[in-house]
């Protein structure tokens, strides 16, 4: 009996000592995104968000470029030579000093890997002296600063690279230095004493990638995590009622959309695409599946992107009658069991999607059901995300459901150039092109004064809205559950930063 009593006492002591772990001054962040490796092209976003690695250019809350590791820049009159002046007080986590040579080395390595920098018409990257970095272009490229703010353009120390350009260690310049690195799920970081900027109030952070929404919600409830990103709809309401937590939600520039093969005989007429769009019950999907009624997308680009968004559009409503009438104009007639036929062929389409974003297969099944009401026989093929760009390339793709990020670089022009230029893009239009839209995108790419640029963006948004090269369905909200012990929390809609440096513990 005595042994039991002793054991019980020990268990109690253990439990008490463990329960105090949560309030140890370490900021625990839990998110669904795994750490895919050390290379900025693969996992750079994790390191930028946590404040471990930095870029030459940063952006403010409205995505306007502001100085990062470069304190100033100047562009030549012909827009072909960009001259960056680097800060002179920056030390990497290994103690080495940031020079223009180091920055040139990091950018050259980044340009040689697939990613954003390969879209920049770069002629050369050159360190003129220790503090001056010159980027030469073959043609004017207005989103250059946004491209340099991309996480794949992180400036890492020389020692981070192997001889073949591979990144083997993350040696950045940010306020936090990696302490324990256990990809794909965990890392801890501590304050970098030599940091050039203001010292953060919170000195230790820990990051955990947890794939399941239930796990993340439970980690928030148990107090193990101070910040939990991406709440599943079912947990969100419960967490909002928890007095120890506050729940935040911010719209982000990501859209669930249907990519269509505009060369397909059933999809090549804009009226067919219009009919399919009219047959979608967006409010039902947003409320029933995402539990986010504001998520209904009335156009491709969500609000918060300035002139890229058209104001005052009517909320799209499901209108099966009009949809059926449009398809009837194209020669589709109702056959057995209400399904549509033309020249004896049924209206049968295959939609590809992938489960990495768990809501996509759900929305796909909803579409299958909603389109059956119109007489469309939709087959679903749920597989790997790469089957969409592969199908675009070999022409076998008919329809794809995907979630596209319009802030891959903090300027939507970057994504739009990739997706809606001549010939379309792997994640955008397919066999669809619009001469006027191409002109607009090219003019914006070369650079236009603000008033002109604003007008052009509105015109581009209107073309995408009218011609429907892709069908927008819903927008996204980024959500987070945050411990009340934490102050100054906010969500960056461009998801570049967790803004940890500006947070502090609330006074007990």
């Amino acid at each position: 009996m005595r042994i039991f009593r002793r054991f019980g006492l020990a268990a109690c002591l253990l439990a008490v000592s463990l329960s105090t772990v949560a309030r140890d001054g370490v900021l625990d962040i839990v998110a669904p995104w795994e750490i895919g490796g050390t290379d900025p092209a693969q996992a750079g976003y994790v390191f930028t968000r946590l404040g471990i690695a930095e870029t030459l250019v940063d952006v403010d809350a409205e995505a306007r470029p502001i100085p990062g590791l470069a304190s100033a820049w100047k562009v030549s009159d012909d827009q072909l030579t960009w001259r960056f002046t680097l800060r002179d007080d920056v030390r990497f986590h290994d103690g080495s000093v940031l020079t223009a040579q180091v920055a040139a080395h990091a950018l050259t390595a980044a340009r040689d890997k697939p990613g954003i920098l390969q879209q920049v018409p770069l002629a050369g990257i050159e360190a003129v002296d220790d503090r001056t970095l010159v980027l030469r272009l073959t043609e004017p490229f207005s989103p250059l600063l946004a491209a340099l703010a991309h996480t794949s353009a992180q400036i890492l120390a020389m020692a981070a690279f192997e001889d073949d350009g591979r990144v083997s260690r993350v040696i950045g310049t940010g306020p936090y230095r990696i302490d324990i690195f256990q990809p794909p799920q965990r890392l801890t970081a501590v304050y970098h004493e030599d940091y050039w900027g203001e010292a953060p109030a919170i000195r230790e952070i820990a990051y955990l990638a947890a794939g399941r929404g239930e796990t993340r919600a439970l980690l928030a409830e148990s107090g193990d995590a101070d910040i939990v990103f991406t709440l599943d709809p079912a947990s969100q309401a419960r967490l909002a009622r928890n007095p120890a937590l506050s729940v935040h939600s911010v719209p982000i520039p990501r859209t669930v959309l249907l990519k269509l093969n505009a060369a397909h005989p059933a999809l090549n007429d804009p009226r067919a695409r219009q009919a399919l769009s009219l047959a979608i019950d967006r409010a039902g999907i947003a409320t029933g599946l995402l539990r986010e009624p504001e998520a209904v997308a009335d156009q491709l680009l969500p609000p918060g992107l300035g002139a890229w968004h058209l104001d005052g559009l009517p909320t799209p409503a499901r209108d099966l009658q009009r949809a059926a009438a449009l398809l009837a104009e194209l020669g589709w007639e109702a056959g057995p069991e209400g399904m549509l036929f033309r020249d004896g062929e049924p209206l049968r389409l295959t939609l590809r999607t992938f489960p990495d974003r768990p809501e996509l297969p759900l929305i796909a099944t909803a579409l299958q059901d909603q389109w059956r009401g119109l007489g469309v026989d939709l087959q679903l093929a749920i597989g790997n995300s790469s089957e969409i760009p592969a199908g675009h390339q070999d022409g076998s793709l008919e329809l794809a459901l995907l979630a596209r990020n319009f802030a891959l670089i903090p300027n939507p022009l970057g994504t739009l150039l990739q997706d809606y230029g001549p010939g379309g893009g792997d994640w955008g239009a397919m066999n669809w092109s619009d001469a006027r839209l191409n002109e607009i995108l090219q003019e914006l790419r070369a650079g236009a004064d603000p008033a002109r640029a604003s007008a052009l963006r509105q015109e581009a948004a209107a073309i995408l809205h009218e011609a429907l090269p892709v069908i927008p369905i819903t927008w996204y909200q980024q959500t987070a559950a945050v411990s009340r012990a934490l102050e100054n929390f906010s969500i960056d809609p461009f998801e570049r930063s967790y803004r940890l440096s500006s947070m502090d513990w609330a006074a007990p």
Partner: protein
């Protein structure tokens, strides 16, 4: 004894060869464009496109000849070099060490906890078959086994982490993080191993030699220790050996729920991303572990059961 070990060594060698060649052929026979798959695994769905796939294809080009690549892999294997992951770029051996290490910790923790609970209760039930304890433990075991581990895990988190605040809900890094996932697995295991022990005990306790031991005047405890324990032990040990293998490879659900790194999760990801060196390395190590565990179980039974030692 030495014959036993020699046999197992030969088996290990064969397993390495078969696993290496089979995984190699199978990964190449899978449908889908390999370069696109690898690019998706590497850069994620926001960045996988034709350009990324083309870069991967170019990188793989020197490997072009499949037979040459297989020969290379076998050659490297002799130097204990499993290559680098095509997705993360890290050495496969490091990744396996991290992930398999955590899987093993979890499996052993669960097995130990299950051993402390399951077989003792099973023996108690088996000594009085049909009694109230036997019937109660049958109901408890059936319930625990019927509940999916995911549900058991969530209930334990709600009870011990969210409710009582005694243990971390999920994650890894400290010994405390091991308790809940190990307990989740242990409850399911203990449920079955208690029934195995119960049936085994019942058979032994009902046997003629057990009755004879009683008739010659030994006390209940002595009878069990001298004539029961070893006989009950053999099937229980064999069953636990099988369970350990199931634990190491088949607990992806529990690992994901508790954000615990594990080899099951890693293997699934590697197959989806066509990360051939990682698939080969993982399959090889797991194959060898099967051989090792079987050898261990044989050895334990050999030690427990003197009849097996007879020439």
């Amino acid at each position: 004894m030495s014959r036993l070990i020699g046999q197992r060594l030969l088996q290990a060698l064969l397993v390495a060869l078969v696993v290496g060649v089979l995984t190699f052929i199978l990964t190449r026979a899978l449908p889908g464009d390999m370069a696109f798959r690898i690019a998706a695994g590497r850069y994620g769905y926001d960045y996988v496109d034709a350009a990324a796939a083309a870069a991967v294809r170019e990188e793989l080009a020197p490997e072009g000849n499949a037979l040459l690549a297989l020969g290379q892999w076998l050659g490297d294997l002799l130097r204990l070099d499993l290559g680098r992951s095509l997705v993360s770029g890290e050495p496969v051996l490091d990744e396996i060490r991290h992930q398999l290490g955590h899987s093993l910790q979890l499996a052993l923790g669960a097995l130990l906890a299950a051993l402390l609970v399951g077989p003792p209760l099973g023996v108690l039930a088996g000594l009085r078959p049909g009694g109230w304890f036997d019937r109660l433990s049958l109901v408890a075991a059936a319930c625990l086994r019927a509940l999916p581990p995911f549900v058991v895990g969530v209930l334990l988190i709600l009870l011990l982490a969210v409710g009582a605040g005694w243990l971390p809900a999920a994650g890894h890094g400290t010994p405390a993080h091991l308790v809940l996932p190990a307990l989740t697995l242990a409850l399911g295991l203990a449920a079955v191993s208690s029934r195995v022990a119960r049936d085994s005990t019942r058979t032994v306790a009902g046997s003629a030699y057990y009755a004879f031991a009683r008739h010659k005047g030994l006390g209940e405890g002595q009878v069990f220790l001298r004539h029961g324990l070893r006989n009950v032990g053999v099937p229980v040990v064999v069953y636990q050996g099988v369970q350990l293998i199931y634990l190491i490879e088949g607990v992806v659900v529990v690992e994901t729920l508790f954000a615990w790194p594990g080899i099951g999760h890693a293997l699934v990801h590697a197959i989806v991303a066509r990360d051939v060196p990682m698939i080969q390395g993982t399959a090889l190590v797991m194959g060898l572990m099967f051989v090792l565990l079987n050898a261990g179980v044989d050895l334990l039974c050999w030690l427990i059961d003197p009849r097996r030692r007879a020439p």
